[in-house]
């Protein structure tokens, strides 16, 4: 008899359990459960479209224009007479525009070798978390340029081409790492005897020191013998700080490369860090939004 009563209590409890559980189930938890099937893209792997010299996986968003001015000064080891390099400066001015949220186009003009460069960048895969977990972002970069400094050359000999597969992962809030396999083809290398095709792989990263300041570093390994007669070049290595203030990003850096386009900093870096052939430089990036439609909708 007692046994029956006991089992009755247990069964009653089991039968009523769903009701009890339901009553206690917080509405907020229910919303959270309903939301768990979504995937969220990982944003801001880098603060800007460049790590230092090299391209980052970031592209400009749709209808946003980036005006970018970059300077590299002379070598720090050039002495007090040259004011440690600051007397000489070379620059690149460029515009980048987001055609879609994933595709941007850009143009630029470098004073060094009087190069006009044109490029496109397409974000193929976006790192995401949540229901669809994608561990990396992959962006494709393709560019060409015309070095107009030597008037004697045929038009096609002034051309070079660059292709990169940019592969990056944001490891948590602060640290991002990128690999940049690079294919660089010069129709007419600067030094006679240098190979037309150059393969390289870049590794770059950033570490956020605070919400608005990050430390960046980058190294491009080139698949060739260094500092030979036919190619008196070294690998490019750069370190810098990104400072973000509202619509501007200031990138200040030290690098052994003078050029600001792939042909020059990957292919034609003549300085070395151990001899002190270091250039101080900076990029200033200013973003403008031309997204009028959205603006009206929000007002």
């Amino acid at each position: 008899m007692i046994r029956i009563m006991n089992s009755a209590r247990i069964i009653l409890f089991i039968v009523l359990l769903p009701t009890l559980a339901f009553a206690q189930d917080d509405l907020l938890n229910q919303l959270q459960k309903e939301d768990s099937a979504r995937a969220f893209p990982v944003m801001a792997t880098f603060k800007s479209t460049r790590v230092v010299n090299g391209q980052s996986v970031e592209t400009m968003k749709k209808n946003h224009l980036d005006f970018r001015i970059s300077h590299r000064f002379g070598r720090l080891n050039s002495g007090a007479y040259q004011f440690f390099g600051l007397d000489q400066a070379t620059m690149r001015m460029g515009f980048e525009y987001g055609v879609t949220d994933r595709f941007e186009v850009g143009v630029g003009r470098s004073t060094s070798q009087k190069v006009y460069d044109f490029f496109g960048k397409y974000k193929l895969i976006q790192q995401s978390t949540g229901a669809r977990n994608i561990p990396v972002s992959i962006t494709l970069f393709g560019g060409t340029g015309i070095a107009t400094v030597n008037k004697e050359l045929e038009f096609q000999d002034k051309l070079y081409y660059t292709a990169q597969v940019l592969l990056a992962r944001k490891f948590g809030e602060k640290f991002s790492l990128q690999l940049s396999p690079t294919w660089l083809y010069r129709n007419h290398p600067e030094v006679t005897g240098d190979e037309k095709l150059l393969l390289a792989v870049g590794i770059g990263g950033r570490y956020k020191l605070s919400k608005r300041v990050s430390l960046n570093g980058e190294y491009f390994y080139t698949a060739r013998e260094k500092n030979t007669l036919t190619a008196p070049y070294h690998d490019s290595m750069s370190f810098g700080v990104d400072i973000e203030t509202g619509g501007h990003v200031f990138q200040l850096h030290f690098t052994n490369s003078l050029g600001m386009i792939e042909k020059q900093f990957i292919g034609e870096t003549t300085g070395t860090w151990d001899k002190g052939d270091i250039h101080y430089g900076f990029n200033i990036s200013r973003t403008f939004s031309f997204d009028k439609k959205n603006k009206r909708a929000a007002n």
Binding site: A8, I11, L12, A44
Partner: protein
């Protein structure tokens, strides 16, 4: 033996009661996952607006319990750089991904009757990981089995430990205006 039959009857009745209770509880739930939450920051120098069209809301009309939840990354700004800064620098959406409200509608409303009522809800309001108990005023409108909840209120940045550096102090208001509209339909189960 008679005891045994009695027990079976009790279970059967209890089971039925419990199932109808469950059904009743479900039928009083109204929800949306496409609610609209907007905020604006107005200063003489710059007006900033953002809109979240994926806010979730759920109301239990039997108890007046109300919960609202939204992902900070779903706030869309006309200027994508501002959107990035909002997530990265101000609201820190990696650390604090959602804003929530969990509370109760303060007065009893007959949700079966069409009409529009001034109402308020009191509960826990969480933004940027900081929870405040607040009473938020708004309106509840009932129209042919659909319930819409709207509200218009303010959030002070300092209440939720949202830091604005001095350099952009003049461009970002200290008090943010929030407007929301949630059109609720009977929750599907």
């Amino acid at each position: 033996m008679r005891m045994h039959i009695l027990c079976t009857v009790i279970f059967a009745v209890a089971g039925m009661v419990c199932q109808t209770e469950l059904a009743k509880a479900q039928s009083t739930l109204y929800s949306t996952s496409a609610g609209n939450t907007r905020f604006s920051s107005e200063t003489p120098l710059e007006n900033i607006n953002a809109e979240n069209k994926k806010s979730q809301a759920i109301l239990n009309t039997a108890t007046g319990e109300l919960a609202i939840r939204m992902n900070m990354v779903d706030f869309v700004f006309p200027n994508k750089l501002m959107q990035e800064h909002f997530n990265e620098n101000y609201i820190e959406s990696d650390k604090y991904p959602t804003a929530t409200f969990s509370g109760k509608v303060d007065k009893a409303i007959d949700y079966t009757k069409d009409g529009e009522y001034d109402a308020s809800a009191t509960g826990k309001f969480t933004v940027h990981g900081v929870t405040k108990t607040r009473t938020i005023n708004g309106k509840i409108k009932i129209d042919g089995g659909k319930i819409s909840i709207s509200s218009d209120f303010q959030v002070a940045l300092t209440d939720h430990k949202i830091d604005v550096p001095e350099i952009v102090f003049v461009k970002i208001a200290q008090i943010i205006q929030v407007k929301s509209l949630y059109a609720l339909a009977p929750a599907k189960k």
